[in-house]
């Protein structure tokens, strides 16, 4: 006999985010009840009672009796729950009023039972690949969880959805039959992280929008680009050399009076750039 879960609720007339913030601070959770062809009804429930109830249940989609202000209990499905991103407390609940004669599609959690042979004897690792499956059933038959025995699983073996045995008269599994649920594999060897050798600069990622060196530049800075190999890197080097040449220009200008003319300054600029790039 399945346990009947009862949730007590009160009608709610307040709406809006700031009012809901106040409601949550009072220790209540805003919720909504809806069904097909009917407008939603705003309700609120006591957060502590709901948290206590959820401690005993794993599924987030289960059938409960909703008792709104002491009225006749209604069969509702816990359709969706919103959680706070940091502390995980429930911030809102959707209840979906169901017809007990119409089949529903719900996601049911899978619970792995037992220690696989591949883990205990062969040193493998159990991978839990699928945690819920979609099952179609009448509301009265909704499963809270499906236990799956993995004790016989050896290394390299896996269990898939088709291995789940459910009463076909009551349940139809919607999730693909070939989807793997759990597998046992050998642990991978730890990747050795090679530290960069002394003098070797840390590698830089390739810049995909970097301009390729123009033909005129290639003639001057082609040697550098060719030495580095990658065109993007070559372009970056050419770019880096440009400000150095500019920075060197004032120094050359300072020397200009001695040379008596602006021409030597012009010559000095590319020279300084070359020296800088050679140093690099």
């Amino acid at each position: 006999m399945k346990e009947t879960i009862t949730v007590k609720a009160e009608p709610r007339d307040r709406v809006g985010s700031s009012a809901m913030g106040r409601l949550r601070r009072e220790g209540r959770i805003p919720a909504v009840v809806y069904s097909e062809g009917r407008a939603g009804e705003n309700v609120q429930i006591v957060a502590h009672d709901f948290a206590q109830m959820m401690k005993r249940h794993h599924s987030e989609q289960m059938l409960v009796d909703l008792d709104v202000a002491g009225g006749k209990p209604r069969k509702v499905l816990l359709k969706a729950m919103q959680h706070h991103p940091i502390d995980g407390r429930v911030t809102h609940i959707d209840f979906y009023e169901v017809s007990m004669t119409r089949k529903l599609r719900v996601s049911v959690p899978l619970r792995l039972v037992g220690e696989p042979v591949g883990v205990t004897q062969e040193g493998g690792i159990l991978d839990h690949l699928l945690r819920t499956i979609e099952v179609e059933s009448l509301p009265a038959d909704i499963l809270e969880e499906i236990p799956i025995d993995v004790a016989g699983l050896a290394v390299g073996k896996h269990l898939s959805v088709k291995d789940i045995k459910l009463d076909p008269a009551k349940y139809a599994i919607v999730t693909g039959a070939d989807v793997a649920i759990a597998a046992v594999s050998m642990p991978k060897a730890e990747e050795e992280v090679a530290a960069p050798a002394e003098g070797e600069a840390a590698a830089e990622p390739e810049v995909i929008t970097a301009k390729k060196p123009e033909e005129g530049e290639e003639a001057e800075g082609g040697k550098e680009g060719a030495a580095k190999g990658a065109p993007a890197k070559g372009a970056a080097a050419a770019k880096g050399a440009a400000p150095a040449a500019k920075g060197a220009a004032p120094a050359a200008k300072g020397a200009a009076p001695a040379a008596k003319g602006a021409a030597p300054a012009k010559e000095a600029a590319p020279k300084a750039g070359k020296e800088k790039s050679e140093k690099k």
Binding site: A51, H58, H83, P85, I86, D87, G88, R89, V119, I125, L126, D127, H128, R131, P187, A189, E190, V193, A194, P196, A202, A203, E204, P205, E206, V207, I208, T209, A210, A236, P243
Partner: protein, 139 residues
């Protein structure tokens, strides 16, 4: 080789915004246990690597580990004793933007006590306060 992207569209980025809570990547997606951030910070590639090493060393090749954050943001710095101006500094490291709620690491295939200890050791390497979360107990 520290964690960093292989290809990027631009070499340098602006600082960006870190406000708000993590709107995605804030739940357990792969494993049964996780380490969730409670603060906002830039976590560097060296810090992430230190956590990974600490966890793997403690786990001794058991269980599985998922890194849920990746340092894809370049962090630039100007050289010491440099006057302001003359363009943006050179890329010094790569960082991941971590907001409150970000699930930074996930683990599976080990008992809870072992996962808790491994992630506790990893938490020491991080610049943020964090908490251990399990799939079955949400808050």
């Amino acid at each position: 080789m520290p964690l960093m992207p292989k290809r990027v569209k631009f070499r340098k980025q602006q600082r960006g915004s870190r406000k708000g809570t993590a709107q995605s990547g804030n739940t357990l997606a792969f494993g049964a246990y996780g380490l969730q951030s409670l603060e906002r910070e830039w976590v560097t590639n060296v810090q992430i690597e230190a956590c990974r090493v600490a966890i793997n060393r403690f786990m001794k090749r058991k269980g599985r580990l998922w890194l849920r954050i990746y340092p894809d943001k370049p962090y630039t710095k100007k050289p010491l004793e440099t006057r302001m101006g003359k363009g943006k500094g050179a890329v010094e490291t790569w960082v991941a933007v971590v907001r409150p709620g970000t699930m930074m690491f996930e683990m599976d295939g080990v008992p809870e006590a072992q996962a808790r200890e491994a992630l506790r050791l990893a938490a020491f390497k991080l610049p943020v306060k964090s908490r251990f979360v399990t799939r079955h107990a949400r808050a």
